[in-house]
Amino acid sequence: MTVLRLALQSLANRWLTALLTVLAIAVSVILLLGVEKVRTGARQSFADTISGTDLIVGARSGSLQLLLYSVFRIGNATNNITWPSYQDIASSPDIAWTVPLSLGDSHRGFRVLGTTPEYFTRYRYRQTHMLQFSAGRPFSDLFDAVIGADVAQTLGYKVGDPIVVAHGAGAVSFVEHEDKPFRVSGILAKTGTPVDRTVHVSLEAIEAIHVDWQSGARIPGQAISAEEARTMDLRPKAITAALIGLKSKLASFRVQRAINEYRQEPLSAILPGAALQELWGLVGTAETALSAVSAMVVATALLGMVTMILTTLNERRREMAILRSVGARPRTILGLLTAEAVVLIIAGTGLGVALLYAGLWVLQPFIDRAYGLHLAIDPPGAREALLLGGIILAGVAAGLLPAVRAYRLSLADGMTVRV
């Protein structure tokens, strides 16, 4: 008891350096736990990019490639699904709903997705969240477009603005569908998913802007105006991929196999959850790097604490001699210095956790809105508890270093102070 009181008094006497040391430890704890929070939040957000969809179907390819172009709008499909095959699959008895996706065009770097209005009701992210309109409504006219939140923000579009779709997926395109301009009919609310960076148009519109095209170029002398296109048969000949909802999840593997073995055309079906996990395994190495960096910061803070205690040790040899003279054992000196380290490390860790949660509480809505990253405010889990325990143990172990030195000094000094 005396030892703890002495340690506290000694620290209070050096309150400024003690406070700075506690702050350094607190900041390192915030960083370590914050990285952990962002990591789990990002992993969750990533896994929650698409939910409620049981299967994704595309032309035969690897599951990652199919996931990347159909959900993340990265890369291109190698091939299409013909409309009859799609119709055939959509009509199979296990399937509750399908949403076709048609990709290949872009608008100023943002991908254009041809789909049906059902997309806006079927697409789910973060488990149960539906797409919401922050302005306007789904497309009703042939040349209506619904844009994601990032598209609207980056390009400053409002409902009613005209946009021209370019052929191909590049940011700069020389071939545009300028003869058939679109009009923004709706803007989606921020989701934190690739939907934010997508321009949505109807499947028929994709067909309409390509009606006078062949093999990626206009057919010379056969220009068809937008008005003429409206009167034509705009049923798509092919789509890029499709989202599928099943009547029962139990049928997932059966339907997947059936699609993979589809005879008329080489197709692939993937389970989005499994593919997302596979993809996270690839991008997830960055999280290890982040964790390593924050572990380094914790080590730096602990080194700072040891340095702070060690530098005061010499001027405190008198203090040790006094304590020895009144009957303190060398072991008490050891305990005193260790207690100081323990007090610093526990105060630092506690402050860090408190500040982290305060910060989360304040910043969470902002981070959710700005980055679509949902950071859960829940009590520290087993992993966090393990990390905190590890920090405290490492701190105590580091604190033993100056304590043992003081112990040696007080044994050697006895009652006299050799400075």
Binding site: T2, L6, Q9, S10, A12, N13, R318, E319, A321, I322, L323, R324, S325, V326, G327, A328, R329, P330, R331, T332, G414, M415, T416, V417
Partner: protein, 228 residues
Amino acid sequence: MSDIVRMADVRFAWPGRGSFALAIDEFALQAGERILLIGPSGSGKSTFLSLLCGILVPQTGRIEVLGTDLGALSGPARDRFRAEHFGIIFQMFNLLPYGSVLDNVVLPLAFAASRRKRAGSAHASALGLLQHLGLGGELAARSATKLSVGQQQRVAAARALIGSPELIVADEPTSALDRDRQQAFLDVLFTQVREARATLIMVSHDQSLAPLFDRVVPLDKIAREMQA
């Protein structure tokens, strides 16, 4: 009167240093005696006191305090023995820089159970001692570092005296004080030592203090420096 300290055939050499060693063939101190050890600095005074207080243990020979052979005690037991039976005053920097005057005075009681019992109420007895040493009033609550050197030495005296230990050991306690203050400090110290019926052993290089003591012993008479 009986001997409170008895040393015989003591040989001590600093481990690992080799160059300096101290030999004490015989030394005895009677209970209630006030003795002045005279010696220039560097003559082994600190080593002598450390041996007496049981912080250092001689390689050979015997040091008895209150009939207890210090060499026979374990390290922690020696520390407890020192806490119970010794009050020690250093030359300067006697006080813990953190903590109040009162904290500093009651410090030894934390390590000595029977001294704590003898002191009764620690605070009351500390305040009483401070009062007697001329440090009454609100000084007790003040931070120890805020005091003058003379006041600090008197706080150290109060700490040495609290709980009435049998032996008061003072290592040049007045060398940091000017003449007038030296006299005043020694006056109050002697009064308190007499009242507590304690034995006082003081080390100094100042011959002029000699008349105040029962006995004056030049250190070189009892302790020989040796080249080991």
